[in-house]
């Protein structure tokens, strides 16, 4: 065995020499560091040393007197097992865990040498396909869908959707009403994905690490100048030393919890580089206060609808399976209620649903669109538009139910057999319990929708088999669930559908965005499975990926948490309380989070990823106050672009885009966040994310930044396991079912794999048909979790009764007397209603839905192509202003004309926008997309109007109700007036600015 060990080491030496001789990249890789590495046994003096110097290698048998690093194996037997190709990752990880394999020496040299060893495996790997004109075609992924990337001379030439080749799998076909529907053999890509090239080569890219000019970690830190002062370029070494030293200082001086990490809801795509992956591994290794992210695009479903029917693991939303086929075959009408899939493009799903909605038109199935603004989907479907005032939807819904009860237009048998508590709700609707019948005439005063229209809608809905599309996905994702009365809206959606017999053919949730007949059994992990994080507590890693891809586990030992909705208050006031997102059970949301935790430090250091919170969180001036507070001793921001709150950091670490690093992924696959989220897609496509270009400037991948920071903390080898991103990509490939269909080299070369559609018999069954027919649940998802069933496993809903509950037992148990969230759905006037006192000053209701042309802040500004879309921003005097849409009658009253600059304001602040006059806005309603990427105060930050378009500066932070943390900022009261003088104001501010604020030095 000893001889075999020595032979294998000699073989390694030969391979390294071969690589140096034949492969310039390998030679360059070796040349980065000089190192003497010893590989040896512990139980004897056998071994071999390797000396890497100037890109060359020397080696000798035996022990070196003075190696820089040592890799030791307990025995020759163990060494041979671990070194024998192909690598047995399980054995490697077990060996490291049991200390059969040890490493000594500086982290960065260990990493360098393991890479020199692993690099010999990569010598024959090729990737990308030669294309015309000297270009090479690679594959990558965006939040808007997969893409081909054509590259020439190290520069991205173009980004396109993927056209399948003749060897790729054939798609599915749905036969409905005598017609045949098959998607084309290609992927779609959303416009923000298609414009990615302009974001990669954005002038706002950060190309070097930077430090705020007046930040001195050893002297005056000047936190009050965050957001005001300029930056100077520093070296990576200086930047990483600074951050590593602050981590050590805060941990030892203040104790556990002193460091806070936070990430945006979405990131650059890719399972290895995602925040659930590299970031979580790093956070867990360092130990940090966690931010509990509220379900910000699902609020009403999570806090409200869930109590009627469970589905906690879907945040209270509906099962999506089989609904595309059922809808096309059986439905006679589709109601889109606060549902604009053409704007939000599902989520991560390109424009896959658009074609399917065109089939709806082909079949002549009528649609109704309920929304205060006539949205893109209503225009595309050319359907009936009903425009209630923002926040009044529940009144309209109650009146629909009143008509159904009065005229007997509901599924009485279903209500009797499959639901409980209907009589209690019915008494409220009929006014038996409160003396007010919720008639169409009653609702008019609240909604402004004519009684006759409500009656007409109720009759059509009650007589026709109707699908309800509620939110962008048809169940959840944006829309009214994020408004001040989102809980009531979501509850209304599920109660109405229950009355119509949920699961009856043609009666279900959906707008053709979700529920395609694709293969759900083929395994490929989504980002919810935590990538290489090993995080078995806060990701879904332990369910499948952890077993399939053996790697080190990781645990954050710091138990302190902060509710995200109160993050600035927690920092500024030193304490905060809130309710969590915990989707294991319906009751998970009742457990209070208390900050600070016992014997934990308040947060002293904030490690922030990206700059989006200030654009996406309500009343976001709070973030400016937080950043400028001395409570935060140190703020580091790791970001791709210089925008948003990245400009409020002390040190900025420039990250690269996912086109500049290796990764692997499947579009629309988020795993446990929404199981089988891919049923939005026409084709499941697994993509290799080629590193198509080198990182721009000195930017680095997130993984690399964490790894190198890890080296400074002695955590580097634990963090990386000696692996590069490409090594991790290969490990994830091997862990997935793709490896059974094509070889690694083939996948790496071609870049994608199309998962074949299942045969008709293997398609998932239709959502809720099992429930409607009183059978066991027969859908391909592992939830509710077993303990959540009350009687037999798989029988009934997750609710206490196992039935749909109009009168919610879980709410009764928690607080039966909660007037804000009572056990039955009741109408509650919105805190942002025009009937409130504040409406005399701010009489317009502003809708701030998810943006149509960008993906949250991604794609917005950065000088991207998207800014030129006439319906996104408007270029006036050199500035791209966000568009604020308003009805001509409201404009006329205020002297506002098309294209004029306007000040949109309330007591929270002012945002300067460009006016667009449109009949698509209900009079009294104004409409502008949220999630601006830029904050451009015209004067003192936080104290002057913004012309970046950050509408969340003026949306309310108030939770939808007190005993929960339900953001309710998607509509609020404002006033709009003509504005001029922006440039004057800004010029005056610049003139008074302190001379200490040097301009930022970003580009060479």
């Amino acid at each position: 065995m000893n001889a075999l060990f020595c032979t294998m080491l000699t073989g390694l030496y030969a391979l390294m020499r071969f690589g140096i001789w034949r492969n310039p990249e390998y030679r360059a890789q070796l040349a980065v560091y000089d190192v003497i590495a010893q590989i040896r046994l512990i139980d004897s003096d056998s071994g071999r040393w390797f000396e890497l110097r100037g890109g060359r290698v020397r080696s000798g048998a035996g022990l070196h007197p003075n190696p820089d690093i040592t890799l030791s194996y307990e025995t020759a037997k163990a060494a041979v097992k671990l070194m024998m190709p192909p690598i047995d990752w399980q054995a490697q990880v077990e060996a490291a865990k049991s200390f059969m394999l040890r490493v000594d020496g500086p982290d960065e040299l260990v990493y360098h040498f393991t890479q020199a060893m692993l690099g010999t495996r990569r010598l024959g790997w090729t990737f990308g396909i030669p294309a015309s004109n000297g270009e090479r075609r690679y594959v990558s992924m965006t939040n808007g869908g997969p893409c081909f990337v054509y590259v020439k001379d190290g520069k991205v030439v173009r980004i396109t959707p993927i056209d399948f080749d003749t060897t790729d799998a054939q798609p599915w076909t749905i036969e409905a009403r005598g017609q045949s529907f098959t998607p084309p053999r290609k992927t779609t890509i959303a416009v923000h994905g298609l414009a990615t090239k302009s974001m990669i080569y954005s002038p706002d890219r950060m190309l070097y690490p930077m430090k705020r000019v007046d930040f001195d970690p050893k002297g005056e830190r000047h936190p009050e100048n965050r957001g005001k002062s300029g930056y100077v370029r520093i070296s990576w070494d200086e930047a990483l030393d600074l951050v590593a030293n602050e981590i050590k200082r805060v941990k030892s001086k203040h104790g556990p919890g002193g460091i806070l990490f936070n990430h945006p809801s979405h990131h650059q795509w890719g399972n290895i580089g995602y925040w659930t992956s590299a970031l979580y591994r790093f956070i867990n290794a360092v130990g940090a206060t966690r931010v509990n992210h509220n379900p910000d695009s699902w609020e009403g479903w999570y806090w409200g609808a869930m109590h009627h029917w469970g589905n906690s693991m879907r945040l209270g939303c509906a099962e999506p399976y089989g609904t595309v086929e059922d809808l096309l075959k059986e439905a006679e009408m589709v109601v889109f209620w606060s549902s604009d899939p053409e704007a939000t493009s599902g989520i991560y799903a390109g424009y896959e649903g658009s074609l399917r909605r065109s089939w709806l038109k082909r079949l002549g199935i009528p649609t109704v669109h309920i929304e205060p603004y006539r949205n893109a989907s209503a225009s595309f479907m050319d359907g009936k538009w009903i425009a209630p005032r923002p926040g009044t939807d529940a009144a309209l819904a109650l009146a629909i139910a009143w008509v159904w009860i009065a005229e007997g237009l509901y599924d009485k048998s279903f209500v009797e057999k499959r639901t409980v508590g209907f009589d209690v709700w019915k008494d409220y609707i009929n006014g038996v319990s409160d003396g007010v019948a919720k008639t169409p005439e009653w609702q008019f005063a609240e909604t402004g929708v004519a009684a006759r229209e409500v009656r007409a809608l109720a009759r059509a809905w009650g007589k026709k088999r109707t699908y309800l599309g509620a939110g962008g996905l048809g169940t959840g994702w944006g829309g009214a669930c994020r408004g001040p009365t989102g809980v009531e809206w979501s509850r209304a959606m599920v109660c109405l559908t229950a009355m119509q017999g949920l699961g009856r053919p043609g009666v279900n949730f959906g707008n053709l965005q979700w529920g395609t007949p694709i293969d759900t059994s083929f395994y490929f992990p989504g980002y919810g499975e935590g990538g290489m994080s090993g995080d078995i507590n806060f990701t879904a890693s332990s369910i499948s990926l952890y077993q399939r891809m053996p790697h080190f586990p990781s645990v954050n030992t710091h138990l302190q948490g902060v509710p995200r909705t109160k993050l600035p208050e927690a920092i500024l006031e030193g304490h905060a309380e809130g309710y969590p997102r915990d989707s294991r059970s319906i009751e998970g949301q009742f457990f209070k989070i208390r900050y600070p935790a016992p014997a934990h430090s308040p947060v002293k250091m904030f490690y922030r990823y990206g700059g989006s919170n200030i654009g996406t969180m309500p009343d976001s001036k709070r973030y400016i106050d937080m950043y400028q507070s001395d409570k935060l001793e140190f703020v580091v921001n790791q970001s791709i672009w210089f925008e948003g709150e990245a400009k409020f950091a002390d040190v900025i670490l420039p990250a690269c885009t996912n086109f500049e690093r290796w990764d692997i992924s499947e579009w629309s696959n988020v795993s446990g966040f929404m199981t089988n989220c891919q049923v939005q897609l026409n084709h499941r496509v697994i993509t290799m994310q080629h590193k198509v270009i080198e990182p721009l400037g000195e930017s680095k991948s997130d993984y690399t930044i964490f790894r190198e920071l890890g080296h400074k903390l002695g955590l580097g080898v634990y963090f990386s396991e000696g692996m590069s991103e490409l090594d991790w990509v290969q490990r994830m490939f091997l862990a997935s079912d793709v490896s059974a269909r094509m070889s690694w080299k083939e996948f790496l070369h071609k870049g994608y794999y199309v998962v074949p559609a299942p045969s008709e018999r293997l398609r998932a069954k239709t959502a809720y048909r099992w429930f409607y027919e009183g059978r066991k649940k027969d859908l391909p998802e592992p939830h509710p979790l077993p303990s959540e069933y009350k009687e037999n496993y798989l029988e009934g809903m997750q609710t206490p009764s196992g039935k749909f509950e109009f009168d919610c037992e879980t709410l009764k148990r928690f607080d039966a007397n909660d007037q804000e969230r009572p056990p039955i759905l009741k109408y509650r006037r919105s805190s942002e209603s025009i009937e409130t006192e504040r409406a005399s000053r701010y009489p317009l209701q502003m809708l701030t839905p998810h943006p149509r042309f960008t993906f949250h802040t991604q794609g917005d500004r950065k000088d991207s192509f998207l800014n030129d879309i006439a319906d996104h921003r408007l270029l006036i005097d050199g500035h791209y202003y966000l568009i604020m849409r308003l009805h001509p009658s409201d404009a006329e009253k205020r002297g506002i004309e098309e294209g004029m600059l306007v000040r949109v304001f309330n007591e929270l602040g002012s945002v300067i926008c460009a006016a667009r006059l449109t009949e698509c806005a209900r009079p009294g309603v104004v409409h502008g997309y949220e999630s601006s990427a830029t904050y451009e105060p015209l004067g003192e930050p936080g104290k002057s109007p913004d012309r970046g378009g950050m509408l969340n500066l003026i949306t309310p932070k108030k939770s939808q109700f007190e005993k929960g943390d339900a953001m309710g900022n998607s509509n609020c009261l404002v006033e709009v007036e003509p504005w001029d003088g922006a440039d004057d104001m800004h010029a005056k501010y610049l003139a008074t600015k302190s001379a200490a604020s040097a301009p930022r030095e970003n580009r060479a």
Binding site: S132, T160, D163, L194, Y351, L355, A376, A456, C920, A921
Partner: protein, 282 residues
């Protein structure tokens, strides 16, 4: 000889702007030697989606129109060009030659569709080439078509006779003066963008309760000519589309069993909603 044509279906366009962005992606930062110089990063796109709103709250619709170089067979720009700056390719595409077109602003001014653009920095007239450099390299469709999610854009390389048949079958039209300049870009359901509609809502009040009148018969006449017929839907709504804007002398007649007939004389400037029309029980 097969030649390229483009078909745009107004009814299938979601307004996603992928076609606009695909063209920006293809030409900003890229010079395609022998075909075109770089496109300016900002400013008007060589391909644009233009939205039009018709009607009034609450009877509104928004439709989109694809706007680009029409690759006319009788191209006015070619007549304005000097030094052979513009040629017609055998596959029907109009080709601007950057090296010969420099300084010829007249080319931009000659385009009746305003689909040629002046690149101030390069002093060049530019247009969307139909991605001819890609087609010549073996691509089967130009990028706006490839990136269109619904098939609202289609490209066809067919004989002119075959195209005439398709035009007749699918009732395709040109944006004028495309008929005169023999445009190669054809529009389907163009009325949704160019024409006007008139809509109304039929209501009735019985026993103090207002309701929508469903299934009433509505006819539209001009003089003695019967223009169209419709019936009111579940919401009492009816709509006549494909009307020539600024139509006068129109009459709407509403009949429904159990109601008195109503006649309205109307004019249609642009699209309009007639509002609620109250029917009286007979």
């Amino acid at each position: 000889m097969k030649k390229w044509n483009l078909i745009f279906d107004v009814a299938l366009c979601t307004g996603c702007r992928n076609c606009e962005m695909a063209v920006k992606d293809e030409y900003v930062g890229n010079t395609h030697a022998g075909y075109t110089a770089e496109m300016p990063r900002h400013g008007p796109g060589w391909v644009q989606i233009r939205a039009r709103e018709r009607g009034q709250f609450p009877a509104v619709d928004v439709t989109n129109l694809f706007h680009s170089c029409q690759h006319c067979d009788d191209a006015p720009c070619m007549q304005a060009a000097k030094n052979g700056a513009i040629t017609k390719r055998p596959d029907g595409l109009v080709q601007f030659h950057p090296e010969r077109a420099k300084g010829q602003k007249a080319i931009v001014e000659a385009c009746p569709f305003r689909a040629a653009y002046w690149n101030e920095e390069l002093q060049l007239p530019q247009h969307w080439t139909f991605d001819s450099h890609l087609l010549d390299a073996g691509w089967t469709e130009p990028r706006p078509v490839q990136s269109c999610p619904t098939g609202a854009l289609r490209s066809l390389k067919v004989e002119d006779e075959e195209m005439q048949r398709i035009i007749a079958d699918e009732k395709l039209e040109h944006i004028e003066p495309g008929s005169m300049t023999k445009s190669r870009v054809h529009m389907r359901n163009l009325y949704r963008y160019m024409r006007a509609f008139v809509a109304g809502t039929l209501t009735v009040t019985k026993n103090g309760i207002e309701d929508c009148v469903v299934g009433a018969s509505v006819t539209l006449t001009r003089g003695t000519e019967r223009v169209a017929e419709a019936s009111s839907d579940d919401f009492g709504d009816f709509r006549f589309d494909d009307l020539i804007p600024r139509s006068t002398d129109l009459r709407i007649r509403i009949t429904a069993p159990g109601y008195r007939e109503q006649v309205l004389d109307i004019e249609v400037g642009n699209s309009r909603w007639l509002g609620e029309i109250r029917l009286e029980p007979a």
